[in-house]
Symmetry: C2
Subunit: 242 residues, 2 copies
């Protein structure tokens, strides 16, 4: 049995920087948490917002604070520091090895998709964005870890992909078409690829996908982390001249 | 061109938890940092130490603090809180997109391996562990990002692998035997596999490997992160009964 986490993200077309922030942290009592924050607007200002919100949530989770409290704290922090004028959407997906559960905390319009007992469903109860109204709380769902269990979260750019370009993507229909034996990496890559296709390769919003899955087998006792990020052209364009 | 980061780690034999902590953070001005901390002793007490030290360094790096200052702060923090009685070894590897450099900060006995200009070399200048003596500073090397550039860091368990079991591993010789076209993932996995083999599958210390590489090609503009972690038997053993 192994926990698989995969993230894929790309910035809005013609912006150098995604306004979404995704950060991962090991939980002190075992397990992992991933935080996806979609800051209001795009580019640098959105990045600043999503970054401070994600950092606040991550640093609390790293200290062992429970997910619901970390989400509330991130809200209070943003609301205090920006006077209730700036909002952000946030998803926290956690595997808690202490309780043996997958914990999903949503402060988003877009749903989170869950695969459990051999079928997909939407977690789409109303959940306010953080930063605006007093005492905003997350919608939280906690599910026992079992082989095959999967949660898919994404920013609203993915949920609305294609909306202004001839046909909105149906993410639920899409994941239902995938083999359920696919790993988290393949799910994240394929969902992002389909969203990009709907946006004709030039996304009108930042696109981020996060997938957590309980794989039926662990090949060994090794923990692995991989990351790739493109080098911006402004950097490597100078290399050939030096 | 893409930045590839790979981490592989496994706990000392018959301990449930690695005393090493590896954490990754996106740098606010672009790029990524990975922090590897090897806490004194092993198991839970080492984990607590390595965890707080890594969190301190990571949270500063996330705020845009430069690597050398983050390493000094982590030292001061540990020394203050444990009265100079507890040590830790720490490596910070960073890709700084603002300066276009790879920054290597060592507070370790074990060297860091660097591949540059088509050859491998050791960064092995003396560098004190943190937490003990006043005003400890890291040994820092900064290299311009170029295709093929690579840095390999590891905990002392890897450096000393096999020492008490019939023959110590030569990590430099090992990486020199790999094709230089291998990606970061393959390097990390192969080095860990060799270390495990030298330890006869039962490592007498926590083993952690971190690899940062500048890949010559980027396939797309997507940022990706993947993570897998084994589920402990105490969890999945209860599943079949429920």
């Amino acid at each position: 049995m192994e926990i698989q986490l995969a993230v894929a993200k790309i910035a809005k077309y013609a912006t150098s920087e995604s306004g979404d922030t995704v950060e991962v942290v090991e939980r002190p009592h075992g397990g992992v948490s991933v935080v996806l924050v979609d800051g209001q607007r795009s580019g640098r200002s959105a990045k600043n917002i999503s970054n401070v919100v994600a950092r606040k949530a991550i640093s609390l989770l790293a200290e062992g604070v429970r997910d619901g409290a970390a989400a509330r704290a991130a809200h209070d922090y943003l609301r205090t520091h920006r006077g209730g004028k700036v909002s952000a959407e946030m998803i926290i997906l956690s595997v808690d090895m202490e309780t043996g559960t997958l914990v999903i905390s949503r402060n988003t319009q877009a749903p989170v998709l869950v695969f459990e007992h051999n079928s997909w469903r939407l977690l789409d109860e109303p959940a306010s964005a953080i930063g605006i109204r007093p005492r905003t709380r997350p919608q939280i769902v906690e599910l026992p870890l079992r082989p095959g269990l999967m949660a898919v979260g994404f920013s609203d750019g993915v949920w609305a992909a294609g909306e202004n370009k001839g046909g909105r993507m149906d993410v639920l229909e899409l994941v239902q078409s995938f083999p359920t034996t696919l790993g988290a990496r393949a799910y994240a890559d394929d969902i992002l690829a389909h969203a990009l296709q709907r946006e004709k390769g030039r996304p009108s919003d930042d696109l981020s996908v996060v997938v957590l899955r309980v794989g039926p087998m662990a090949h060994d006792d090794v923990r692995r982390l991989s990351m790739t990020l493109p080098v911006p052209p402004r950097l490597y364009n100078t290399w050939s001249q030096s």
